[in-house]
Amino acid sequence: MRTIAKAFLCLFAAFVLGSAHGEELTPDALVKNVTLEVVELIAKDKEIRGNRNKLIELIDEKVLPHFNFTGMTALAMGQGWNKANAEQKKRLTEEFKILLVRTYASALAAYAEQKFDFRPLRAKPTDTDVTVNVRVLQPGAQPVPIDYSMEKTPAGWKVYDVMVGGVSLVANYRTEFNNTVRDSGIEGLIKTLSAKNRTLEAAGAAPQK
């Protein structure tokens, strides 16, 4: 419980990937640049942390372009993905994206100036599917590893899974998604996700403690 929750505390870095300035960035350089850029923005602007909408804007602009949300949703759905039609796939991806962005905004608000250790990439230059390792350092505790699974696409390197402390975000949704699809079908899952997002939105509108 303790370690798990701690891992989730570090989810914030899980999505810290922002805009690439050059197309030819290696995946590890991309992760490093964007992580540092976002963390610096948060450190500079104290007010942004208490403002959920500003955080989400920041994530939209800096982080989202580097994620393959369709790939993430497909992985999280497992075999259920093939049961969905094109339009359902689109709605699923959209709702899952909103949920992840909200979770990330929440984690970013809890960021407490931890330091990062960017590990050298262990991959051949020709590889098209790599894992980028970052570690979050905190005094009195084992560093928390954050591993980004990334693939090369014509539009640059894209993240398709994030492992925080050995916990794959995508795999962790699989049981929940499968259970919901089994009980109430694809439409049921879309409804559940969108209801969850609406609840969070309503709660986020209230003043944040």
Binding site: M1, R2, T3, I4, A5, K6, A7, F8, L9, L11, N68, T70, G71, A74, L75, G78, Q79, W81, L99, R102, T103, S106, A107, A110, D129, P139, G140, A141, Q142, P143, P145, S149, E151, T153, Y160, D161, M163, G165, G166, V167, S168, A171, N172, Y173, R174, T175, E176, N179, T180, T192, L193, K196, L200
Partner: protein
């Protein structure tokens, strides 16, 4: 000891194992009950106390408290590393304990980390896992939360060997144990809020994260990568025959991980 008790308890519970559920979690109904109990206790006592602690006690002092208990824990983290044959890690843990207990003033300053001797995370449950003991069924323990049959045995050993348990007088020991719990819970305030926001079903989300996390810890962050194309969903009959009665074979536990489909390439 807790172990024989757990076995009796499990035998009694085997009767109410559900057929539909996750093969790693045959006692889901019972576990959910304990989980609800834990959530109630947490909301009524642990969370308010931890929140007050975080709001009233200065961050510097909270860091010292965390370091103090972290230093004491390094002793048996070292023992576990040696038991797992990781001699260098074990020696590092004891070096940490030596430096932090002296130069770090009884551990309140983590000077070892500044010297580049990194903190490790080990316990008896991980040592058993390293020795090849399978997780066994998932269990939610009262107050302590997520565990497995194997990790429950490990936790019993952790508690039995806990140096804080030897603090005397008893009142000092009890205060130390309480302070440690409050400190741990306070560190988790943000995390538990995020968990509540991220999960569709908190119980399932936390269980799956726990099982993934333990697997990663046992392999020190390098679990064998097991990916293969999706398989057809097992029928309820197959699931039932797969359901572990006492201890699941190691492979079963990671079934979900192995069923990861390849990412779609647009």
């Amino acid at each position: 000891m807790r172990f024989p008790g757990s076995v009796v308890l499990l035998a009694a519970l085997a009767a109410c194992a559900t057929a539909q559920g996750d093969p790693r979690d045959p006692f889901e109904g019972f576990n959910r009950g304990v989980y609800r109990f834990n959530e109630t206790v947490d909301a009524a006592i642990a969370k308010p106390v931890a929140t007050a602690y975080r709001d009233l006690v200065h961050e510097e002092i909270r860091n010292r408290v965390r370091n103090f208990f972290s230093n004491i824990a390094d002793l048996f983290i070292g023992v576990n590393n040696l038991l797992q044959g990781k001699i260098q890690d074990g020696v590092e843990d004891w070096a940490r304990f030596a430096f932090n207990s002296t130069f770090g003033l009884l551990g309140i300053h983590d000077v070892a980390t500044d010297m580049g001797i990194e903190k490790h995370n080990e316990d008896f449950g991980q040592t058993l896992g390293r020795w090849g003991v399978a997780d066994g069924p998932y269990l939610v323990l009262p107050i302590l939360g997520s565990s497995t049959l194997r990790d429950s045995v490990g936790t019993a050993a952790d508690i039995y060997t806990d140096p804080v348990g030897d603090f005397r007088p008893i009142r000092l020991r009890n205060s130390a144990v309480a302070l440690r719990l409050v400190n741990v819970r306070a560190d988790l305030l943000d995390a538990s809020r995020i968990l509540g926001e991220a999960a569709l079903d908190k119980y399932v989300f936390q269980r799956d994260a726990y099982l993934q996390r333990r697997r990663s810890l046992i392999y020190d962050g390098q679990p064998p990568r097991e990916e293969r194309p999706p398989e057809p969903e097992p029928t309820p009959e197959e699931r039932r025959s797969e359901a572990p009665v006492n201890a699941a074979p190691a492979a079963d536990v990671n079934d979900d991980l192995r069923r990861v489909p390849q990412p779609t390439h647009p």
